[in-house]
Amino acid sequence: MDLEYSAEEIAFRDEVRQFLAENLPLEIAAKVDAGGELEKQDMERWHAILNAKGWLAATWPVEYGGTGWSTVERHIFSEECALHNAPRLVPFGLSMLGPVLIKFGTEEQKREILPRILDGRDWWCQGFSEPGAGSDLASMTTRAVRDGDDYVVNGQKTWTTLGQYANKIFCLVRTGTGGKPQAGISFLNVDLDTPGVEMRPIKLIDGGHEVNEVFFTDARVPAANLVGEENAGWTIAKYLLTHERTNIAGIGFSLKDLERYRRMASAMTRDGRKLSEHPIHAAALAELEADLEALQISNLRMLANARDGAASPIDSSLLKLKGTQLRQDILALMRSARGPDAAFWDESPANTNSDLPPHADHVAPTYFNNRKLSIFGGSNESQRNIVAQTLFR
């Protein structure tokens, strides 16, 4: 039993820390620290900095421009990034399409698409969910009919995160009929400027624009954009959805949030007592800290399992479950700590010239926005179903 990183891993961590200290733009880190929203150029800037360093595609093999890092190194990198308030990397190209192409794509697709992900020419988004197909993804109905060298696509996708910044979308489309709903699904890349493709914003509960709907009306997409075999899309989707995500528990974010909470609580009073000395708040904080300490070990245990080839779906589902619950609990405590001032709202949280009084901040919108954590990316109910299947096998 040894909880410590190896000497090499510690050296790697120090290298990451030094890099972050020297290269992460302070104004971006400050925005992240304040819980504000990032603008497109912030994300692009950080993407380019990492690309220049060669640290962008943590999960890709070196031959495709990836880092070749081990599971543990990937974990160290993503944890350090979170702790230093680096922006979260947009995963759709780097962590989703990239690995899919590397496994299922043609040589030409790899050669053409992967470099454009790295250098930021392409911003990909995801077209899986539909209004009638959420947890039950296989019930999706967007249809692609082969017509000569093209597919003609009709249907609607939804919950397309940051689609407003994207120029490309990878989609699941129905190309076959009959059989189980999982059969007859294909994986198709689509240019968003294709005629007949329209993106519309969805405003979320906190007023933010983060997700979109995408409508396809007789959109003609080259058949060469198919990834893998026709009707083999479900296998690819499953690979993508269960593709190892080192950061599924969101630990770095929870650590940062707890740090913000402690800062906040020691600066606030509540009815004549320092909030940090309020016994109910202090006990809640202590229990959340214990939970997070445990979750860090749980996460390391999963990493060690993965490294040793012993990963199981229970691991990642349980980490997702507990990680999202914990983060939501932390954000609820922060919201609660802010008291009546949590009500003050500024529709543009990126706006640093906000009119809000200085004692108001973004705790309430952040709390509401992150109710999504237990819904998106496989709802916590779906995760429980997955774990139950394994338990009762």
């Binding site: 405003k203 309020h278 009546p340 009119d355 819904i375």
Partner: protein, 354 residues
């Protein structure tokens, strides 16, 4: 023992419900509630004409109600319709004006021709009148206020702002005319203000106002509880409908036992919330008032947050969208716990009472 409401109350509730249903769609609400003046002057006039504000004070002061039951009946409908008009400020303002003998001002409030807001608490002071620090000083025969009041519900654009401040060893109540304040929408709709006072001129309308402020706060808490009950009732109904209608894996979500059981627990919380509000309403004015109101605000703070979070979760993505009315109900329910003391504040008050 009789849990039915009076015919008059039923009529008031019915007329309000009809009005909101006919004239107050969620789109209007979301348009009015998030940009200055953070409410709809037309709706305000309508509500005044329907007698909503008049229900807040008794006949001696120009109203035609004023009991805790009157307030609960109105606010339950307010909650059911998710109305974000500045009624809480009107309730507290009208009460305090009436109790201070400001009959004309109270009548203006009731008539809807003036809007009132109340500024009692301060940054870091959310529930304990004893911890406020704003001061009133007489300068040249005129009262001037110093200090910082925050979270003033309905503050932006209010004509009459009633302000609690120390003067002569007591907490007095002062009246300022349309003071400038930092204005913002609340995340759950409606206006909120922040008032930094550095010599704000005001009239003293009561020199020893602690008791009337505490009473008014308790009444406002009852209003919030009733509002929460209306909102929970509606949100649970929306969730039930959604589960019945939404299909996953070839059958309605309503057939999944794990979801069923969670909905049942939500209903149970709602029933408890209704019950504790009935208790608080009945105790208003009695020796048990403070205790039962604190219990109500505590219990409903817990229940509202839980029902909100569960409703969003049971809806899935759709519950996260601005366009779906349920998300706004969910926000309101959580934010009610932030108003006038949250569950922990009131648990602490209860523990200190024992």
């Amino acid at each position: 023992m009789d849990f039915s409401i009076s015919q008059d109350h039923q009529m008031l509730a019915d007329s309000l419900r009809r009005y909101f249903s006919d004239k107050y769609p969620i789109e209007l609400r979301n348009k009015a509630g998030y940009s200055a003046p953070f409410h709809s002057p037309e709706v305000w006039t309508d509500l005044a004409e329907l007698g909503v504000i008049g229900a807040f004070i008794d006949e001696d002061h120009g109203g035609f109600g004023g009991t805790a039951q009157d307030i609960a009946v109105v606010f339950e409908e307010v909650g059911r319709a998710l109305c974000c008009e500045p009624l809480l400020g009107a309730l507290m303002g009208a009460r305090l004006l009436a109790l201070s003998g400001q009959d004309q001002a109270a009548e203006d409030i009731v008539a809807g021709t003036a809007r009132a807001a109340v500024a009692i608490f301060e940054p870091g002071v959310v529930c304990n009148l004893g911890a406020i620090s704003a001061e009133a000083r007489q300068l040249g025969g005129e009262w001037r206020l110093f200090g910082h009041k925050n979270a003033i519900y309905g503050g932006p654009g209010a004509d009459l702002v009633l302000i609690a401040a120390h003067a002569g060893g007591k907490i007095g109540l002062f009246l300022a005319q349309s003071p400038d304040m930092q204005a913002a929408p609340m995340i759950d709709g409606g206006g909120i203000g922040d008032l930094v006072m550095d010599g704000l001129p005001a009239a003293c309308i009561c020199e020893d106002a602690s008791a009337m402020i505490e009473e008014t706060l308790d009444l406002a808490r009852i209003a919030l509880c009733a509002e929460a009950n209306g909102a929970m009732d509606r949100l649970i109904a929306m969730t039930t409908d959604y589960l019945k209608q939404r299909q996953q894996f070839g059958r309605p979500l309503a057939t999944f036992q794990a979801l069923q059981h969670r909905l049942v627990d939500m209903v149970m919380e709602l029933e408890q919330s209704k019950s504790i509000t009935i208790r608080a309403v009945a105790s208003f004015g009695s020796d048990d008032q403070a205790r039962h109101v604190a219990m109500a605000k505590n219990l409903i703070g817990r229940a509202g947050t839980k029902i909100s979070e569960e409703a969003i979760q049971l809806h899935g993505g759709i519950g996260m969208t601005w366009e779906y009315a349920g998300s706004h109900y969910a926000k309101r329910l959580v934010m009610i716990d932030h108003q006038l003391g949250d569950r922990h504040d009131h648990a602490g008050r209860l523990a200190a009472m024992d």
